[in-house]
């Protein structure tokens, strides 16, 4: 680990100006990802701005009937919050499918969105990695790529985003509130994370020195028909190979609206609204779900060690939708 300087921010404005005025500065929230990366000498900030004392720790209803989760609410407090459990159980389930109780107590909602990939090569500084050191190459494409992408990858990077929470947020169409030197703005979750393209070093569209202040959930919570399905290599404490956040609005057996987001398959939570639209007005049935699954996986491309994810994702979509519809046949 390298030496760094440290300041504690008193308000959002100061936090932003602190981080802007130091070279190589980073915010630190729960530290569960950033500190690991610093110990491995992967991220080397020279200054840390501690944001954990900011007044951004509440969960409140919004005027539009939605819910606002402040960026510093812990993952655990979010998952167990009565309003989240009642109106957005998909989000609770997704959060609780991630990490461990200890980590969720410490991890914050803002930090969760910004956690970095678990690509083995990203974590090993003796190997080549475009995300860690732009322009050096990608070891995973020709290496061990079990936890890598099958959708939206590029020749420069095939990493996945590891968050479970973000997958549920994608299905729920949350917006991310941010504040920066240029003022405040909100970013739809679909535009928050990015595909690697030729800039894999950039995980998100957050501008330099911007801070995430809150996550806003729209009114619609799909509290009746939802599922978070996570496939992994052990029963707990493992990142998703493929996960599915599925949410349905039903009128009897007829689907009014369907939302499907995939985790563990791409550099960002994977949505395909035009495929979801196939279900609109259709009856709940395995065949219809299979059609949607096929549409979701169209164009998917695997590598030596993750080819299986394509079929796994297809089957998981069907299973998740069947469970969400609670019409297990």
């Amino acid at each position: 680990m390298r030496s760094f300087s440290y300041t504690r921010a008193q308000d959002v404005k100061k936090a932003v100006s602190e981080v802007s005025s130091h070279e190589d500065a980073k915010f630190i929230a729960g530290g569960t990802n950033l500190l690991d990366l610093m110990k491995y000498d992967i991220m080397k900030p020279r200054h840390l701005v501690d944001i954990t004392r900011l007044e951004m720790k509440s969960i409140e209803e919004t005027e539009g009937g939605g819910l606002r989760l402040d960026a510093l609410v812990s993952n655990a407090d979010t998952a167990y919050h009565p309003l989240v459990e009642e109106r957005y159980p998909l989000l609770s389930h997704a959060i609780l499918a991630g990490a461990t109780a200890q980590l969720r107590n410490k991890a914050t909602d803002g930090g969760n969105l910004l956690q970095r990939t678990r690509c083995y090569y990203f974590y090993d500084t003796t190997t080549l990695c475009n995300k860690r050191e732009p322009g050096t190459g990608c070891s995973a494409i020709t290496g061990y790529n079990r936890n890598h992408a099958i959708l939206g990858h590029s020749q420069h990077c095939i990493a996945t985003h590891p968050s479970d929470m973000a997958v549920a947020l994608a299905a729920l169409e949350a917006t991310i509130q941010v504040s920066g030197p240029e003022g405040e703005r909100s970013i739809p979750i679909a535009d928050f994370h990015r595909l690697p393209g030729d800039k894999p070093e950039k995980d998100t569209n957050l501008a330099e020195n911007e801070i995430v202040t809150a996550i806003e959930l729209p009114k619609k919570g799909f509290a009746r028909h939802y599922t978070y399905l996570k496939n992994r290599d052990r029963a707990s404490f493992a990142f998703a190979l493929v996960s599915v956040a599925a949410a349905l609005e039903l009128d009897g057996d007829t689907i009014q609206e369907a939302r499907i987001a995939l985790g563990g398959v791409a550099h960002k939570p994977w949505r395909k609204p035009e495929a979801e639209a196939l279900l609109q007005g259709k009856e709940v049935s395995r065949e219809h779900f299979q059609q949607v699954a096929d549409a979701y996986l169209e164009g998917a491309e695997g590598f030596q060690y993750n080819e299986f994810k394509i079929e796994l994702a297809r089957r998981s979509i069907v299973r998740a939708l069947m469970q969400a519809a609670k019409t297990d046949q």
Binding site: M1, R118, D124, G143, N231, D233, L241, F308, L312
Partner: protein, 740 residues
């Protein structure tokens, strides 16, 4: 006060120390003016170090030295000096010896600084340039150059008997299959560490993580030319090792070298990543050709093993003896070949060879049972062996039939349907599988010392180790039981090179070897007490031998004659004996033991539930029935078996050290990506100990339990997965992509 402790579920005598943090591990000892070393490892698998530029690191205030092959002190020259008590044949690795890189993550430099943080930072400032040479780490492509080692590290495969090839060709049922087992690392909770205390007068005291303090002492004497009196090694507590501590690891070399050079105390601790830089369970490819009659009687077994090793040492383990131990067959051929790779030498890992060989054997036999249309348990009974065919001798004891019976009954095996995919619950396919196992019950020579004081306190010691297995506890029990003293009055000391010699703690032989020595040394004290009572003129004891005496509740008496009881402490006081002392060397009864096959046995029954579409597997029930001779302490014994079962689950479904052949480097080197089971993976486990008497294995009749618990778990799971899904997964780990 009852003082018969053997066979009683005693709590750990060191439990309080462990939970209150008083138990100190190698990296925790406080010594004055300690400095800290951080090891730099190579980033290539083969080649030469062109240059190491330490100048930036050395400029940092508080950095004391950067040791490399260029400025290291003079070291021993002969291979012999570097070999330790567990070295396989070959040329042991010498840290910092020259510019050659022989494997990826090879330790190539040590940075020593006043604080660990500084040493760590300074290590990032050292620039290394290499001249890279092509490496060979790809097991599959190197298979073609497999060779039979000149010298076997372990037992050479027994000579073939019968006509295995011919009988295989003629057999009504034939199975020819390959089984694969990946490399796995030990990953004990405690990482390897050494704290070297520079005593000021040239002597050093070393706190090391090791499964036998004497091995570290021997190694340091050899490499650094130290006299025995100049180096004392202590290792009172070990936070798990599983074989990783059988050989001194490079942190010991590094810390000692730096201490001797700098004349300062030095600590070197390895990181979790560095735990992937030395020995591991070798990957193997095992080929089986098995012939059987239409009724399922075995007629021929051919078992070929190909296992990885380094290019500098021939590591080999007992992978192929198990067909000859577990099955009756008249035509058998066994072979073991090595595949040399540019990696560090593999190392014993819990039940070395047994876990590996029995996995493949028991999967193969399950396949044969199915070909014969036999229930897997019936098949095993049909081919039950009454003889250890590796040496053509009978078993000293073998209660495996009883393991079958009690295990099957507890599990409910009689309700099993033979047909695969015949049991389900909703999406889940349910499978029941079983496997059997064996492990060697060895005894090695060991020494122990005992001192009984007039206040009734007994101190026993031996330079053995407790790697979390419960050695402290059972030795205390054996000593207390033999002399009839309360547990609280007995203390046992281990993990110190100045104590009487003991073998490495490995091979499940500690209870048997050191236990026998402890018992024998306490019997010596019994003899001395008998002498005292005779000297007093006590006519009850005149002409009696110790075998005719009872020692219990602090008293000695003639057997079944409580009225003759004499208090031990009073006896000593009356004779003005402050203390009685004895030291003994317990040798196994080799000649007698040679006449017998000596093994513990197991039968494991497993239920799995496999998601039909998604392939996810849950091990919902395990029944492990063990024949392990006399059970000294059911509580610590059960813990050993539970640990073995959990590890078996990991081996079957999770553990996998991934070799990246681009770099010749294990790439999933942390516990987030190298999976071992978590609580949620472990559901119901039942442990059964069947009664087994054995006077041959050693004087206490215990066979050792450290390893028998794991050997038959992975194949039982693989067989259950087949029963559930109809799919034979022959390459571990069995992950969802292989079953979906």
């Amino acid at each position: 006060m009852a003082t018969d402790f053997i066979g009683k579920p005693s709590k750990r005598v060191d439990g309080l120390k462990k939970v209150t943090g008083q138990a100190r591990y190698a990296g925790e000892f406080e010594v004055p003016e300690l400095t800290h070393g951080v090891v730099i490892n190579s980033s290539i698998a083969r080649g030469k170090i062109k240059s190491i530029d330490s100048s930036k690191a050395l400029q940092l205030e508080g950095v004391l030295q950067v040791f490399t092959h260029e400025n290291r002190p003079k070291l021993a020259w002969f291979d012999k000096s570097y070999s330790d008590m567990d070295s396989p044949p070959g040329s042991p690795f010498r840290p910092l010896y020259n510019e050659k890189v022989q494997f990826n993550m090879q330790p190539i430099a040590l940075v020593v600084a006043e604080t660990p943080e500084l040493a760590q930072y300074a290590a990032t400032q050292v620039k290394v340039e290499y001249e890279t040479e092509p490496h060979e780490t790809n097991f599959d492509s190197q298979l073609k150059s497999a060779y039979v080692p000149e010298e076997f590290n372990s037992t050479p495969p027994p000579e073939p008997w019968g006509e295995s090839e011919e009988q295989f060709k003629k057999a009504a049922i034939q199975l020819k299959e390959e089984y694969f087992h990946p490399s796995q690392h030990h990953n004990p909770m405690e990482m390897h560490a050494s704290t070297v205390h520079w005593e000021g007068d040239g002597r050093i005291t070393v706190y090391d993580k090791i499964q036998g303090a004497l091995n570290s002492q021997k190694y340091l004497m050899g490499v650094f030319g130290l006299a025995k009196e100049e180096v004392r090694v202590l290792s009172p507590f070990v936070g798990g090792a599983f074989g990783s501590g059988l050989r001194p690891q490079y942190q010991l070399f590094m810390a000692t070298m730096a201490a001797l050079e700098l004349k300062r105390s030095v600590r070197v601790m390895l990181s979790r990543t560095q735990m992937f830089s030395f020995g591991h369970r070798p990957k193997t490819l095992q080929r089986f050709s098995i012939g059987a009659s239409a009724e399922g009687k075995l007629q021929s077994i051919i078992h070929e093993t190909y296992a990885e090793t380094s290019k500098f040492e021939d590591f080999q383990e007992d992978v192929v003896i198990w067909p000859a131990v577990l099955y009756k067959c008249d035509n058998v051929k066994l072979s073991h070949q090595l595949v040399g790779l540019d990696e560090y030498t593999p190392l014993d890992v819990r039940a070395p060879g047994g876990t590996t060989g029995i996995f493949a054997l028991e999967c193969a036999m399950d396949e044969v049972a199915y070909k014969a249309g036999l229930d897997p348990l019936e098949f095993r009974k049909k081919n039950y062996s009454e003889m250890d065919q590796t040496k053509k001798v009978p078993f000293s004891s073998k209660e495996l039939m009883e393991c079958y019976r009690q295990g099957a009954e507890k599990f409910g095996w009689q309700n099993r349907k033979q047909e695969p995919r015949s049991m389900r619950e909703g999406h889940q396919l349910v499978g029941w599988g079983m496997a059997q196992g064996a492990w060697e019950a060895n005894q090695k020579p060991a020494n122990a010392k005992a001192i009984l004081s007039v206040d009734g306190k007994l101190k026993v010691s031996s330079a053995t180790a407790d790697i979390g297995t419960g050695t402290y506890t059972i030795m205390t029990q054996i000593a207390a039981d033999t002399l009839g003293l309360p547990l609280e009055d007995v203390s046992f000391k281990l993990g110190d090179s100045s104590l009487p010699e003991a073998p490495l703690e490995g091979g499940s032989a500690t209870a048997s070897s050191v236990g026998s020595a402890v018992k024998a040394v306490c019997q010596k004290i019994q003899e001395q007490l008998l002498e005292l009572v005779k000297k007093q003129g006590n006519t009850d004891f005149a002409g009696k031998e110790v075998e005719e005496l009872d020692f219990k509740d602090g008293q000695m008496s003639l057997k079944d004659q409580p009225a003759t009881a004499v208090s031990i402490t009073e006896l000593m006081a009356q004779n003005k004996e402050d203390q009685l002392q004895a030291e003994i060397s317990a040798e196994p009864a080799k000649e007698e033991q040679k006449k017998w096959g000596r093994y513990s046995h197991s039968a494991t029954f497993v239920e799995v539930k496999v998601d039909e579409e998604l392939g996810t597997i849950k091990v919902t029930r395990v029944v492990s029935a063990i024949a392990g001779g006399r059970i000294l302490n059911p509580k610590t014994a059960r813990s050993q078996i539970l640990g073995g079962v959990v590890w078996g689950i990991g081996m079957a479904m999770e553990e996998y050290s991934v070799m990246d052949n681009q770099y010749g480097r294990f790439i999933n080197h942390n516990l987030a990506e190298y999976h071992v089971p978590v609580n949620a993976d472990v559901q119901e486990i039942d442990v059964i100990f069947v009664e087994e008497k054995d006077d041959v294995v050693n004087p206490i009749g215990a066979k050792g339990l450290g390893e028998i618990g794991i050997v038959s778990v992975a194949p039982a799971i693989a067989n259950a997965v087949f029963h559930a899904t109809g799919k034979r997964v022959r390459a571990l780990p069995i992950t969802l992509d292989k079953t979906m």
